[in-house]
């Protein structure tokens, strides 16, 4: 028998290799970061630029002139407050309608379940604008055009799929035995939903609520088609700005303003559920 050199053995131990950073992963993350961050950065810089001429890498003059000009306009503030009220109303209504429905889809067996479940996809399966025009025709007869609740209704349709499909998956992942244990301890079906199913599915549901909120906040077509001319949300206002004057800064300032609510919502959710389970909610 030959003696084994201990150093050759040690070289085979894979522990050292796994500790090395994954360079490919780092490179991919960097590349993705460049694509995502640089446009945002350019917009952010434009918002504070007063003079920025080609080929300079940075603006020649920084300043708040365009901020003052934008913020001095009452329609900006009206649009901001309207957008926030709309998004909060739509998201709350959507949660109220969709979460119990999602639970029903996940747990109950009723006739037409699958057809109904798939029907939520149809609003996303066809060109949206055609659908919106048809709905606008109906809303015109109902007197809902250019009203707050008209826009709420149209934006509600847009959130349905996200607020049904994601929570259904979340509820299906809740261990049935947990719900049965709650029944066993004396909780009725509604109490079980409230005390066990909902908290268990919470991280994923928070993700869905956040996506609905942000999606509603930036929704433009429906808000414009149903809301015009009385109801002007932030994105609609931004389009008017960009269409009317070719001054980049106005658009940039509004764009930066638009980031604020989604940023706050993201921070709020992160604090509420913790970043670990939040990432889990998105399936990371």
């Amino acid at each position: 028998m030959t003696a084994i050199d201990p150093s050759t053995l040690a070289a085979d131990v894979p522990v050292h290799r796994t500790k090395r950073p994954d360079w490919l992963g780092v490179a991919l993350a960097l590349a993705l970061g460049v694509v995502v961050v640089i446009p945002l950065l350019v917009v952010a810089i434009w918002a504070f630029a007063e003079v920025w001429r080609y080929p300079s890498l940075l603006p020649q003059e920084f300043g708040f002139r365009f901020w003052e000009a934008t913020l001095a306009r009452p329609d900006v503030w009206n649009a901001m407050s309207l957008s926030l009220r709309l998004s909060v109303t739509v998201t709350l209504l959507s949660a109220l309608i969709c979460l119990p429905a999602a639970y029903a889809f996940a747990r109950l067996d009723f006739p037409g379940r699958n057809v109904l479940f798939l029907s939520f996809l149809t609003s996303h399966a066809f060109p949206k604008f055609g659908l919106l025009v048809a709905i606008a025709g109906i809303f015109l007869n109902l007197g809902l055009i250019s009203t707050f609740w008209g826009v709420v209704l149209i934006q509600l349709v847009g959130t349905l799929m996200m607020m049904i499909w994601i929570p259904v998956a979340a509820f299906q992942n809740v261990d049935r035995a947990m719900e049965e244990a709650a029944r066993d301890a004396g909780a009725g079906p509604i109490r079980v939903f409230w005390s066990v199913s909902l908290p268990q599915a919470a991280p994923t549901i928070f993700a869905a609520v956040l996506l609905s909120f942000v999606g509603t906040f930036y929704e433009t077509e429906g808000a414009w088609l149903i809301g015009a001319p009385e109801i002007r949300t932030m994105p609609v206002l931004m389009i008017t700005y960009i269409n009317n004057q070719i001054v980049v800064q106005y658009g940039a300032v509004l764009s930066v303003l638009l980031w604020v609510p989604s940023f706050i919502a993201l921070m709020f959710t992160r604090r509420l559920v913790g970043s670990g389970s939040f990432a889990k909610g998105f399936g990371v």
Binding site: D175, A177, E180, A181, R183, D184, A185, S195, Q200
Partner: protein, 353 residues
Amino acid sequence: MAQLTLKNLGKSFDDTDVIRDLSLDVADGELVCLLGPSGSGKSTVLRMVGGFETPNRGAILIDGEDHTRVPPEKRPTGMVFQSHALWSHMSVAGNVAFGLKLRGLPKAQIRQKVQEALALVGLKGYGERRVWQLSGGQQQRVAIARALVLEPKILLLDEPFASLDQHLRERLREELRDIQRRLGITTLFVTHGQDEALALADRIVVLRGGEIEQVASPDRMYRGPQTRFVAGFIGSMNFLPCDMRGGVSDHPLFAVRAAVPDGPVELAIRPEALTLCPARGTGMRVHLVTDYGTHLLVDVDLPDGGRLKAMCPPSARYETGQEVAPEASHVALFRGDAKLAEVTLERRVAVHV
């Protein structure tokens, strides 16, 4: 303190009978084990008692009161699940307190009851921990505390220790038995482990294909199985097919006398009822010796191609290939699934030289 009665229970899923016609009485304070292979319907029986399945036929009575259609939240039963099913978004104390809160007990009383329940299962001071910080055994203890704190009339356990390792399983089994005796709580315990059933139960119910095969104490179940299925399912058993002719079995090794009509039978012999003597010219050779520490298990090849398992004292020495002669002290005779006779044999003091 409660009595449980199952009357002619029947349950079908998708037109398949899972439980056919099952009747059972569980006395006050008794621990009954439902034992059977997977698919025998034992969990379905338990879930029907807990209210999670509704029987298609028959009735469930608790203290004489009909509970067949009562929803689980209104039943005086407490269930412990195989997956423990603890609520991971609550603390340990939160899990135990949940049912008490639903009953609207005052806070101080809830706190005291939770502490008592945790102390009962040996988890004093663990109340503030998160569920996922506990080991598998501790989680199952919390689940037991959660069921017991509501003082149910009937405790239901659905293979509660199946996911634990052997040592822990045995320890928790003893602790559960202790608690159950102390509280005197009527208990229905589902398991597919016969050792668990033998160790725990006052009475064992062996289920097969949705029907009761035999109900007996662990002692009677092991030593006096009434059907061939139970004989093969509980413990290990040697089955030797042969014919009865004129009241004597024609097996070359075991000529058993019994008042049994002529025809084919199977001789059923426990490994511990066999003694092996060294012998020559028998044609029976030792195939394998497994040392379990407390005893040896010896596999013997028979001339007809069959194989016998015999339990021998650890001091005995056998070599592979060695010729032996087996002797049986107790034999049961089965024809089909039914038992015909049980025979205790006198030990022959014959030494084959």
